[in-house]
Chain length 147, copies 2
């Protein structure tokens, strides 16, 4: 299993968000080795309070059954916040692959406590993207994480 | 403080959802005694995996600062699932008023453990709506809660 292939797709989504003037966080939902949904944070682009990267990827995957999600993994460039964590738990996605958790540490412990496998890749591209964004747009970033 | 006034608005949202052929769960976000966002479950109407009632109300409230949410209460006809709970925690909404939790018990303990005030009204209209829906559409209901 090569995590980088799918993480790179999540990074492409994050970069797309940045190009749109948005917050550079991207995500892909993978079902049995195939991307079934991709998305990125659209707070700024859509004036959205709920479209974080993972939420956007889930939304773009459409309506699915519980059994479908149990065969999925979700990739995200950044450690998932409590909302995205809750969505992952709601749908019983068994594995989360995270680009980095050094700029923001989400609810990884809650995921693990519910039996979700959490892999943190400590990816430099993800870290640089977020560090640069937080430095450039601290107010926007705080809004996105409710701080 | 009369909870019924705002719960009734959440019930109106749930009924609107039912009229649209959707899942009858509604929510309103209240800021300093005034409704600033209202919504209902739109899984069926929009083919959405993320628009639960509370998420729709938050989305329709637009982008807000952390300070704004700290002055809010959220009303929902049904006990909030892990996704909606996560969104409430992300934004630091300090109080959740729940129509009923007998047809579905969400993450109320998690909310309380994080200091959120949780009020359950045990409302008969909410219970009847959900009981009737679950009986009529068990597959749709299971899809909505990832079961």
């Amino acid at each position: 299993m090569n995590y980088d292939t799918f993480l790179n797709e999540a990074i492409l989504e994050a970069e797309k968000g940045l190009d749109e003037g948005g917050i550079p966080i991207g995500s892909v939902l993978v079902h049995n080795g195939k991307i079934v949904g991709r998305g990125h944070n659209r707070r700024i682009q859509k004036g959205s309070a709920i479209l974080h990267g993972e939420m956007d990827a889930l939304e773009n995957s459409g309506r699915q059954t519980a059994n479908f999600y149990k065969e999925c993994e979700i990739y995200t460039t950044l450690s998932p916040c409590s909302m995205c964590t809750g969505a992952i738990l709601l749908y019983g996605i068994p594995k989360v692959i995270i680009g980095e958790n050094s700029t923001f540490l989400g609810e990884e412990e809650l995921l693990k406590s519910k039996g979700v496998e959490v892999v943190v890749l400590d990816n430099d591209t993800c870290k640089t993207m977020m560090n640069d964004f937080i430095k450039a747009q601290p107010k926007l970033w705080n809004e996105d994480i409710g701080e």
